[in-house]
Symmetry: C2
DNA sequence: TCAAAAGTGTTGCGGCTACACCCATGC
DNA sequence: GCATGGGTGTAGCCGCAACACTTTTGA
């Protein structure tokens, strides 16, 4: 990586779904030598980085993701920019950024991405210095800088996107049950769905194909597994309407 | 305005609708003293500006708009970021930016906004140095830097937004006819609509209210004028569905 | 045999589409 | 009186919501 650009950063809100809850992947912000760990323990932040001067923005974001999850081809979407001149208020946090980047930091405009990963397929690379953990969305503590605002904004953007594009599959394993899919939509959209009607809707979609395989190791009737067939989806995609 | 920040700019794609066509407001890029006007005439660009170091990003964008249209409270939406390290290829254009800003320019990341204005209510401030003109979308010539890409991307974002939010009214005068509204949707969405069905849809919307006033000075049956009642819309807004 | 979740059909209503003719005005 | 766009109604189909019980498995 090249020279860092101290004016622009990328931050990633990485969403994951464990079958029941929607979670975010957060980093621990290392303490500086002179910080009091008893007061400042558990400082969390979004994974992010100043950009390199020669790097495409999206590539910077992919780099952050790759370093954190070890995953390559995952869903990534740039959804907002946060650039308030006073978004870096907390002087401890600014001091930390100054020291870890080794640069003089003034105003930093950050390009925010959200990313959707399949939780059980992600392989958090344990050898990294920064520790990461999946935090359920409704248990996210106070984060550094304006990162709480960024998380909320990402969730809004995700909901909006899900109104018009079938991106939910990015959060599920390749093979999934209809129950998982329904839970996913219920959790993100925040409303219960009638499961009979939900399933009827699925049956009509040719791009959701049942596999010749069933769930295993559950102590009840095992569910049919499905996969999302992207090719068919792209072929059959129809123009959806609009709101006046 | 304060010190300029030579790393970050805002650019605005300003859409207008004249009742028939969707247009974009473009600036003429002034020629430098040593540029050959016979070769480089008619250089157009998106209205934009480097940001001031103490300014909120949105405020920078509003400033650009205010200077250009004289209008205050107009619809503005941040929709993408363009930050490729080599987006400023054309050396003439970079030279121009260097000279007009008086700063050393390396990489500039630009925050892109689109804006919707009511063409006949906009009062382009004639006293400005930079000349502006409304260009129909399908006649936009080559622009400087990556501005053509930004325009196309803005149109995409506008279409997407119109699928889920009733923002078309921002492009129409306060009082408008249903024909104008229908033309607007046809032009932006790119498909013809059945006018009987379109009107039936309108009638069901309480936030589209007929006024006790008709179109004037047309050589055919004058059309009923309508207005958009935002309060009612916000009150009655219902959750729209989602795509699986 | 029990617990736990999977899976399945029907009916009624409302919304969408397709389609063709009369009306009011200015010139 | 004619040209121009404004404005109107109906019938069939499809999609969506509401609603409760049987099935399969592991323990």
């Amino acid at each position: 990586m090249n020279r860092l650009n101290p004016h622009i950063s990328v931050d990633c809100v990485i969403f994951g779904f464990d079958g029941l809850q929607l979670k975010v992947l957060l980093n621990e912000r290392e303490l500086l030598p002179d910080e009091d760990s008893s007061i400042l323990s558990d400082l969390l932040k979004l994974p992010g980085s100043l950009i390199s001067d020669t790097e495409e923005l999206d590539i910077s974001a992919y780099r952050v993701l790759k370093e954190l999850t070890g995953l390559d081809k995952i869903f990534l979407k740039q959804f907002a920019v946060f650039g308030s001149p006073n978004r870096l208020q907390n002087t401890n946090d600014v001091e930390w950024l100054r020291k870890t980047s080794g640069m003089s930091i003034e105003r930093v405009v950050t390009i925010a991405y959200y990313s959707l990963v399949k939780i059980n397929e992600s392989n958090p690379n344990e050898s990294l210095l920064e520790k990461t953990s999946w935090i359920p969305l409704n248990e996210v503590p106070q984060l550094i800088f304006d990162h709480n605002i960024i998380v909320n904004s990402a969730l809004e953007a995700l909901r909006k996107e899900m109104r018009t594009d079938p991106i939910g599959f990015e959060l599920l394993p390749k093979k999934f049950t209809l129950r998982q899919l329904q839970n996913l939509y219920e959790v993100i959209m925040g409303n219960k769905l009638d499961n009979r009607n939900f399933r009827k809707r699925i049956v009509k979609l040719n791009y959701l194909v049942p596999l010749s395989e069933k769930e295993k190791g559950v102590s009840h009737k095992p569910a049919q597994l499905y996969k999302f067939d992207k090719k068919t989806f792209l072929r059959e995609r129809k123009d959806i309407g609009f709101v006046i």
